[in-house]
Amino acid sequence: MKSKRVVIVLTIVGLFMATTLLPNAIAADTFNWKKCEGTKLRFVMHKIPPSKAVLETLPKFEEKTGIKVDAEILPESQFRQKVLIQFASGKSDIDVYLTMPANDAVKYYTSGWYEPLGNYLNDPSKTEPGYDYEDFAKSAREGCTIDNTIIGMPCGFSPAIFYYRKDLFEKYNVAIPQTFDDLEAAAKKLTLDTDGDGKIDIYGWSNRGKGRVATSVFSMFLFGYGGRFLDDDGNPVINSPEAVQALDLYGRLLRLYGPPGSTNFNFYEVYSLFQQGKVAMCTAGASTHKVFVDPEKSKIWDTVDYAIMPGGPNGRHSFVVVWGFSVYSGSKNKDAAWLLVQYLTDKSGMKTLLKDGGVTVARSSTWKDPDIAPITKPKKLFDLSLETVEKHGNPYWNPPAISVTELRDALGAAIVASILGEDVKKAADKAQAEWVRILKEERAEMKK
C-alpha cells in the first residue's frame, strides 16, 4: 500500500504546483504572449517579397507563445482560388491569411470573411502594449480599412517605380521624363536599331498588356489625366474623355515603342526583357529592384536606375499595392490568430521583415530606426519608395466593387484593343457598357 500512498501524495503536490503556475493564464487583465499556448494555427499566404522572412520568424513565434503555426505559401492565383473555395464552403480551418485589399477587400468584406480587428486593438488584454497602430503609414492603414472597419494589419506595400537605363539616357541625351508627353518623346527616341540591320533591337517602353493584369498599371495613366473608375455617385466613367486619352496613350506607347506581343505580357515578360537589355524603360514594384541588379540574372545590373513615375496634367499617381494579414471570421482560435498577426507586424516584427532587404514595410518608425539605417541599401530606393507612397501613392487602383475581376476583364479588353490599334473610343464605350451592366447586376444582388 506504500506505493498507493506515494501516488496520492504526488498527485496532490502536482495539482498544487499546477494551480500556482496557472494564474498567469487566468488573469485576463494583463497581456501575455503565452496566453494561447498549445493552440495550433493555420496560416496561408502567397509569395510576396517578405514571405521568406515571415517563414523564418515563425519558429521564434512558436518559442515565444507556444502556439504551433502550420504555414503555407502558394502561387498567387492558386492562393486566391483556394482561399475563396475554403471560405465559400464556410468550413475553413484557415486562421490567418494574407490579403491584398485593393483586389479582395470588397468581396471578402461583404461576404463576412474578415474578422474586424478594431475591437482587438482596443482591448489591452489582447494587444501588446506599444503596438501603436498609428505608426503604420497612412495609405497602408487606409488600404486595410473598409467601411470604417479595420480588416487587416498592413504588412508591406510596393509602390510602382519607374525604371530606366542610365547608359541609354546618357548616350542619347535623354532627361528623366516628368510628364506623359516627356515619356512618349523619350520612348520614341529610345526605340533604336543599334546594329543597322533594319530590325529594332531596343524598345523604348514595355509594360503589361494582357488585359486584366494591365489595369493596375493603366490606373496610373487614368488618374494622371484626371480620369476615374467611378464617379461620386458610383457610376462608371471609363469612357470619359480623360479615360479615352489615357487608353489611347497606353496603347500607343506599347504599339509604337513596345516589343511585339505586348498583349500577352504579364509583369514577368516585361521584367525578362528589361533584364536582357532589350527595353529602355518600364515600371515595376520597388521590390523588383533586387531582380534587376542581380549580376547573375540581369544583363543591365550596373546600368539600371529609377525615378518617380511621370505624371499627367492631374499629377503623379503611382499605384501602391498594400498587403496585410487578416484573421478569418470563422476561425476557432481568433485570439491566437491575433497574436500571430501582432507578432508579424509589431515594431520588432517589421524590423525583421525589413532586414531581409527589398521590402518596404508599412511602419514609419521602422524606417527611422537607427538599427536599420545601415542595412537599407540602396537608400535612394527606399527614400524614393517612401516619397512615392506618401505623396503620390494611390492604393485605390482597382474599381471599388465586388466583381473586381469581371470589371478588370472588361477594361482589359479595351486596353488590348488600344494596343492593337483599334478604335479607342469604341472600345472605351464597350467597356463602359459592360461596367454599367456588371455594376447594375451586382447592386441588384446586394439589395436582395
Partner: protein, 318 residues
C-alpha cells in the same frame, strides 16, 4: 450457392476456438453469399461521389444564383440563368464558336497527320522501335509543363519559333500576342501533343487488318495509291472513328493548355466554353450561372459523343 459447395473440405476444418478466426469465417461466408452486391458496391460508391452527386449538385445550382459565399444561401431563380445564357450573352455564343473552331481544326489535323504517320510507321525499318517510342513522348509529358515551354518558345522576340521562322526566310509572327494567331498557336500545341495518340490507335488498327484483300489487290495489279485509297482507309474507318471520339470529346473540354498559354485572351480570342465557365465561377463568383454553363457544355459533349458512337456502329458492321 455454388461456391460454398465447391469447397466443402474447408468448411469442415476444425475451428481453432479463437474469436477472430470465427468472425473471419463468417465474414468470408457473407461475402461469398452476396457476391453480386459486394463487387459492384465500391464502384457504385465512387461513381456516385465523383460523378452522380456533382452532376446533381451542378444541376441544382444552375437554377439558383449564388455568390460562392457561405453567408448567403443560393437563391432559386427558375430558368433565369439559361434564358440569360441563350439570349443575352454574346460572349457565350462566341465561346461556343471558338470551342467548335478549335476542336474541329485541332482534331481534324490530328486525324489526318496521325493516320499518315501511322501508315509510315507501319513498315519495317531500321530503328523503328526507337522511333515509335520517341513519337509517344509528347503525349507522356505534363500538359502544364508543355504549355509553359511552348509559351516561351512562342515569344515574339526571344522565342525559338520565330528564330526558326526567320532562318527559313518566313515572317516572324506575334503568335500568342494577336487575337488571330493566338488560336492557331494553341491548336499547334494541341496537335503536337495528341497526334501520337491517334498514331497509336491507328497503328493498332493497321495490325488488325485482314491480309486476303491485299493479296487479291496485288494479284489484280493495284497501285500502292489505289491500295491505300480503296482498301486501307475504308478498313481503317472504324478505328479512325474511335480515335475521333476520344479526341473530339477531349478537345471540346480542353482547359489546361489554353489557360496557361493565354488565359482565354487576347481579348477573348481563345476563350472556349470550358474556360468561360471557369472564369464565371472562380473569377467572377457567379456560381449559378457557371453551373448552367457547365451543364450546357456537358450536353454538347454528350450529343457529339452519341452522334459519333452511332456513326461507329454503322461503320463497324462488316
Amino acid at each position: 450457392m455454388a461456391l460454398n459447395v465447391a469447397y466443402p473440405q474447408e468448411k469442415s476444418r476444425p475451428v481453432e476456438g479463437r474469436r477472430s478466426s470465427e468472425l473471419t469465417r463468417q465474414f468470408v461466408e457473407f461475402i461469398d453469399r452476396n457476391l453480386k452486391i459486394v463487387f459492384p458496391v465500391p464502384l457504385l460508391v465512387t461513381l456516385f461521389l465523383l460523378i452522380i452527386f456533382p452532376l446533381i449538385y451542378t444541376a441544382y445550382l444552375s437554377f439558383h444564383t449564388w455568390g460562392l459565399s457561405a453567408n448567403r444561401k443560393p437563391d432559386f431563380v427558375w430558368f433565369t440563368n439559361y434564358v440569360r445564357i441563350f439570349f443575352h450573352d454574346p460572349r457565350f455564343w462566341h465561346s461556343v464558336l471558338i470551342t467548335m473552331y478549335y476542336s474541329f481544326l485541332a482534331v481534324g489535323t490530328e486525324i489526318v497527320l496521325g493516320t499518315a504517320i501511322a501508315l509510315v510507321l507501319n513498315r519495317k525499318f531500321a530503328g523503328m522501335k526507337i522511333v515509335r517510342s520517341i513519337f509517344i513522348l509528347p503525349m507522356a509529358a505534363t500538359p502544364a509543363a508543355i504549355s509553359l515551354i511552348w509559351t516561351m518558345m512562342f515569344h515574339p522576340d526571344i522565342g525559338v519559333v520565330n528564330y526558326l521562322m526567320t532562318r527559313f526566310h518566313l515572317p516572324a509572327l506575334v503568335w500568342l500576342g494577336h487575337p488571330r494567331s493566338a488560336l492557331f498557336a494553341i491548336v499547334m500545341v494541341d496537335v503536337w501533343m495528341f497526334t501520337p495518340f491517334v498514331v497509336l490507335v491507328v497503328l493498332a488498327g493497321l495490325h488488325a487488318l485482314p491480309r486476303e484483300p491485299y493479296e487479291a489487290a496485288m494479284v489484280d495489279g493495284a497501285s500502292p495509291g489505289q491500295t491505300l485509297w480503296y482498301l486501307t482507309l475504308p478498313f481503317l474507318k472504324p478505328t479512325i472513328i474511335v480515335a475521333l471520339i476520344f479526341r473530339l470529346v477531349q478537345a471540346l473540354k480542353t482547359f489546361d493548355i489554353i489557360f496557361i498559354m493565354t488565359e482565354g485572351g487576347p481579348a477573348n480570342a481563345t476563350e472556349t466554353l470550358n474556360l468561360y465557365t471557369f472564369k464565371r465561377m472562380f473569377m467572377y463568383y457567379k456560381g449559378g450561372y457557371s453551373s448552367a454553363l457547365a451543364l450546357i457544355l456537358l450536353s454538347v459533349v454528350l450529343v457529339v459523343n452519341i452522334i459519333l458512337i452511332r456513326l461507329r456502329k454503322r461503320e463497324w458492321s462488316y
